[in-house]
Every structure is written in structure tokens, then in C-alpha cells.
């Protein structure tokens, strides 16, 4: 056995930590009413909620990419005054209770909100619509993408980009052909994390978008609602959500195309 340098008691605590995560999942699976499982998860309201969840999460993840990639690039590549402050604010949704995020969004895009009033005049209503769900999910998930991508960009460094520029590549070409491909693993795991976070979003969605079936009631909201009336349905839907989450995370950790590090020092 190779020397690990870890004291024995650390292993015991690690086992406890593992159980702490696995045991509740097992307890939930044990509670599933298998006889009724299929009818429960294929009921109209369940399918509608699942469909809405998948659609809004996909849209939010796309929005996270569109906004998050430029933000991560600016944070990683260009030092400027107030950069640390900006990073702190971008990360805020990570530690903020989602309900608080929802309230903040309500006072921005709501009917009486900062931007909402002008939007209302233009005939656009955001609060309590599917758009609100997407905004709420993007708000809480954006930091996951930015953090993973910024880390990957910093690790990759900008030496390859400098070489690409001296070879005659315009900045946009460098971004497309060098920067993005080189941080693809980081970008992929950031995307997956964001998607998973969107899928599980509850507090901000409920506060900012409400719980209207087919419009804003995503799967987590549906589960919470069912728990009051039909515990079996709630457990079955929870299992569906766990399955989707496991599939998403599993896909991201397979990483078949790891970037090869050139053997620079080797002969």
C-alpha cells in the first residue's frame, strides 16, 4: 500500500460524512411506494412540472453561459479597479438565502420594481411568469458557472493566448479557437453545476415567480405542494429529481476528452 499520510481517525470521520449523505437518500428510496410509482410520476401535474423544470433549467443554463463566460473572462484576464468587489458581489447569490434573492428580484423586475415599472409601461410583465422562473434560476446559478470557469481560466494561464495572438489571430479567433477549447472541462463542469442548481431552485422561484401550474410551478415546487396532500407522490417525484441530478453529475465527471497536457519537458 502506498503511504497516504492520513491519520486513521480521519478515515472514520470520512465514512461518517459519506453515510450522512447516503443515508437520507436511502431512507427516501425505502419510502417509495413502488406499486404506485409510475402512475404518480406520470400524472398530469407531475409531467407538467418536470417538463417546465427541464425547459426553464435549460434556458437558464444557456443564459448563464451567455452572461457567465464574458464575466469569468473579465474577472480572470483583466485586472481592474474594483475587481475584487465585483467578484464578491457575483458570488453573493452562492451564500444568500434564495428567498432573499427572490425578494431582490421582485423589487427589480416586479410591477413596482426598479426596472419593472418601465417594463410595465412597455407592456412587459416579468414577475410570476415563466420568464421570472428563468431569471430566478439564472440569478442563483450564475456564480457556479463563473467560479468554475474563472478557476479554469486562471489555471490555464494566458501564454497560449499570447502565442496565438502573435501568430496573427484576432482576439475573437483566439477566444474561439484557443481559450474556450482549453478550458472546456472547466466550462463543462460549470455548466453541469449551473444546470443542477437551476433544477433544484425553490426559494427564489417561489418568491419571485409564484407557483402557477404549467407556468411557474417547477418540480421542486410541485414536490413541496404534494408533500402536504400526497406524501407518496412527493417521494416519487423527489426520486425522479435525484435520478436527473445523478445523471447530470455522472455525465460531467466522466469527462472523456480531458485536455492533454503537452509533454514539454520530456525528450
Amino acid at each position: 500500500m502506498n503511504f497516504s499520510g492520513i491519520p486513521r481517525w480521519v478515515y472514520w470521520l470520512a465514512v461518517v460524512a459519506g453515510l450522512f449523505v447516503l443515508l437520507p437518500l436511502a431512507a427516501m428510496v425505502a419510502k417509495v411506494n413502488w406499486a404506485q410509482f409510475i402512475p404518480l410520476v406520470t400524472s398530469d401535474s407531475s409531467l407538467t412540472a418536470l417538463g417546465l423544470s427541464l425547459r426553464t433549467s435549460a434556458a437558464s443554463t444557456a443564459l448563464c453561459l451567455v452572461l457567465g463566460i464574458p464575466l469569468a473572462l473579465v474577472l480572470a484576464r483583466r485586472p481592474f479597479r474594483g475587481q475584487r468587489l465585483l467578484r464578491a458581489f457575483v458570488l453573493l447569490p452562492l451564500v444568500l438565502p434564495p428567498v432573499v434573492g427572490g425578494i431582490a428580484l421582485l423589487y427589480t423586475f416586479g410591477r413596482q420594481g426598479l426596472l419593472g415599472k418601465s417594463l410595465e409601461l412597455a407592456g412587459i410583465q416579468i414577475a410570476f411568469s415563466t420568464t421570472a422562473v428563468v431569471l430566478a434560476q439564472t440569478f442563483v446559478a450564475l456564480p457556479f458557472l463563473v467560479v468554475s470557469l474563472e478557476g479554469a481560466l486562471r489555471t490555464a494561464g494566458n501564454r497560449y493566448e499570447a502565442v496565438a495572438a502573435t501568430l496573427g489571430a484576432r482576439p475573437t479567433t483566439v477566444l474561439r479557437r484557443v481559450t474556450v477549447p482549453m478550458v472546456l472541462p472547466g466550462l463543462a463542469s460549470g455548466t453541469v453545476l449551473s444546470f443542477a442548481r437551476c433544477l433544484g431552485e425553490f426559494g427564489a422561484t417561489l418568491t419571485f415567480a409564484g407557483s402557477l401550474q404549467g407556468v411557474t410551478r417547477t418540480l421542486p415546487l410541485e414536490i413541496y405542494l404534494q408533500r402536504e396532500t400526497d406524501a407518496d407522490a412527493a417521494v416519487a417525484l423527489s426520486l425522479v429529481l435525484v435520478a436527473v441530478a445523478v445523471a447530470v453529475v455522472g455525465l460531467s465527471y466522466r469527462r472523456p476528452h480531458r485536455a492533454e497536457i503537452p509533454a514539454e519537458a520530456a525528450a
Binding site: 499570447a162 496565438a164 495572438a165 502573435t166 501568430l167 496573427g168 479567433t173 492533454e260 503537452p262 509533454a263
Partner: protein, 354 residues
């Protein structure tokens, strides 16, 4: 059609002015931290100087002195950079790495790959075309990097110690390759190796503390070095001072008092003018007592280091060095800190204008 750069980077204490002819390769030598890499980065457009101007052919690379400040971004400069490490894009095949320059310049995929094949053949790496950079050895990867730089058809090639990360077997191969491809091209090569400078460069400049301290035709610089660094590379002892009728007077330095060094005056050495005295370490003998009998120079010094040098022992005393046999070293009982006399015959000392 020439290259001229004149740049000041205050944060890195760089202040240089340099010109290159149409097909001239210049080697940049100097100790670590002398500003060599910064100079290349400024030329490539990766570091923005505080002041200065640069022109490459008809193109203004930057002009920060005039009223209207001009700054050409790196991709429009025509200056390809080759670093110590090949820095091949790990996600592209060898062929697409080399095709990157022409493709970025607007060539079609087919055309750029055709150009890439030509340059890969030129550097003897065509058989690696389909591989990923991770599957190449260091020497192979650096050859591909040379091909990639050349495929971008740069007007000025910037090489930052291209051989220093290679092992002793791969370096000679790449050196021969560079000699072939650099002839007839304009290039700046940073190197720590006399051999690189002699083989690749028409001219050398020696930099120290952000300034050019010596400049000249390669062979001439090594034959008659005027800076301590070039003398070290050329393997000669160098003392700097004022030329006299029969030698050189040096000011007091860290290890030595002011001295008169007797030597053979070069034709161009003018008594009263600045000059240097040079002598090889092999011409120095070491004694424990003051030696007498003219015309000899005797320097009372403290040994700082002993190191093997071929089948001799190189004894260092500050900037001066002496080569003696291991036997002689043992008999003298030399060790760092020993006080000894470095003795050199006046006929072995060349004094020339510095």
C-alpha cells in the same frame, strides 16, 4: 525595410534601442533579469512600454512619444514568438497547430493545411501531422513550434531561449534546424549559449539591468569582450579601467584594490582612454606567496569557489578565474576563503579599447 525599436518600461527598468537589418539575426545575451524577455514581449505587443517607438518595415508597431499614440495589437504586427516551451495548442492536431497562423490570416482550411504540410516537411516533422501535441517528445514539439511560427510568415521572428528546455540530444538537432531556417530571415534570439550565438546570429547584444551594455559582430564580441557577462561566456577574465602606456589601471573593486595590470596593448588602445584587459583562466598560476620578477601581474585575492572544469579545477576569486590541475590544487590546499596570489604574465594579457 528594417526593424527598429526604442522602448522604456519603467516597472521593469528596461530602456533599450535596437535596430535590425532586412535579413539579420541578432542574439540577445545577458544574465537573468536583464530584461531580455521583456524586450521580446514589447516587440511582440504583449507588454506595453511607457514610452518609445517601434517600426517593422513600413508598419508602425507603436509610437508612444508623439501626440497621437499608436498601438498595433499583437495579431497585426507580423512578429511570431517562439518560447522556451513549445506551447502547442493541446486540443489541436500537429497539422492544425501549424495551420493556425495561415488560417488566422484568412486562408481557407485546405490552403492553410497545405502551407502547414510544407513547413512540417521543412522541419522534418511531417510524420507527426496527425498526432496531438501530447504525443510528441520535447524536441519534436519544439520543431513543430518552429514550423508553426514560420507558417505565419512573420516579418520578425522572436525566439526566447528556444533550446533551453530541450535535453542535450534534442538541442543540436534543433540548432541545426534553426540555423537553416533563420538564414535570410530577420530574428531576435535570446540565448545563454555561446554556441547558439555563434551559429545563429550575425550580431550579438549583451543586456544587463535593462540596458544594452555591449553590441557587436558575434565573433568579435567573444574574441574581445567588453562586458563581464560576455567575458564569462567567452571564458576569459576581464578587468575594466583606463588604458596606460604599458597596460591598464583599474579602479578599486569589491575584491581588489586599484591596480596596474601590465599587458600587451592592442593597436586601437589609446593611453588615457577607457579599456579592458583580458586573459584566459589557463594563463593564471596560483601561488601562496607573493611572486616576484617582472613583467608579471600578481593579484592578491580570496578564493570564493572551486569547481571541476574539464580535467582542470577552475578556481574562482570574485570575477577572476584560474584553471589549474587537481594536483596543484591539492598541493596548495585550496578551499573557499584561502588567500592566494593569482599570477599572470604580461604577455598573456590583451589590453584593448573598451
Amino acid at each position: 525595410m528594417s526593424f527598429h525599436i526604442d522602448a522604456t518600461v519603467r516597472a521593469r527598468n528596461l530602456d533599450v534601442s535596437l535596430s535590425l537589418g532586412q535579413a539579420e539575426t541578432v542574439a540577445i545575451l545577458g544574465p537573468n533579469g536583464a530584461g531580455k524577455s521583456t524586450l521580446l514581449s514589447v516587440a511582440a505587443g504583449l507588454v506595453r512600454p511607457d514610452a518609445g517607438t517601434a517600426r517593422l518595415g513600413g508598419r508602425v508597431l507603436f509610437d508612444l512619444d508623439g501626440g497621437s499614440r499608436v498601438w498595433t495589437p499583437p495579431h497585426l504586427r507580423g512578429t511570431a514568438l517562439l518560447a522556451q516551451e513549445p506551447l502547442l495548442f493541446p486540443h489541436l492536431s500537429v497539422l492544425d497547430n501549424v495551420a493556425f497562423g495561415p488560417r488566422s490570416a484568412g486562408a481557407s482550411r485546405a490552403e492553410s493545411r497545405e502551407t502547414a504540410r510544407h513547413w512540417l516537411a521543412e522541419v522534418g516533422a511531417i510524420e507527426f501531422a496527425a498526432r496531438k501535441p501530447g504525443q510528441l517528445s520535447g524536441g519534436q514539439a519544439q520543431r513543430v513550434a518552429v514550423a508553426r511560427a514560420l507558417a505565419a510568415s512573420p516579418e520578425l521572428l522572436l525566439l526566447d531561449e528556444p533550446m533551453s528546455a530541450l535535453d542535450i540530444h534534442a538541442a543540436p538537432h534543433l540548432r541545426r534546424l534553426l540555423k537553416r531556417v533563420l538564414s535570410g530571415r530577420r530574428a531576435l534570439v535570446i540565448t545563454h549559449d555561446v554556441l547558439d550565438a555563434l551559429m545563429l546570429a550575425d550580431r550579438v547584444i549583451v543586456m544587463d539591468k535593462g540596458r544594452i551594455v555591449e553590441e557587436g559582430v558575434t565573433r568579435e564580441v567573444f574574441r574581445r569582450p567588453r562586458s563581464q557577462f560576455a567575458a564569462g561566456l567567452a571564458g576569459v577574465n576581464l578587468m575594466v579601467g583606463t588604458v596606460t602606456e604599458d597596460g591598464l589601471r583599474t579602479p578599486a573593486t569589491a575584491g581588489l584594490p586599484d591596480l596596474h595590470v601590465a599587458g600587451h596593448l592592442d593597436d586601437e588602445a589609446e593611453p588615457g582612454g577607457p579599456g579592458v584587459a583580458a586573459f584566459p583562466p589557463s594563463a593564471v598560476s596560483i601561488f601562496l606567496d607573493a611572486a616576484h620578477g617582472s613583467p608579471r601581474n600578481s593579484f592578491h585575492v580570496t578564493v570564493t569557489e572551486l569547481e571541476p572544469h574539464g580535467d582542470h579545477i577552475r578556481v574562482r576569486a570574485g570575477d577572476l578565474a584560474a584553471d589549474i590541475t587537481p594536483n596543484a590544487s591539492a598541493e596548495l590546499g585550496l578551499e573557499p576563503g584561502s588567500r592566494v596570489y593569482f599570477v599572470v604574465k604580461a604577455t598573456a594579457v590583451q589590453v584593448y579599447a573598451g
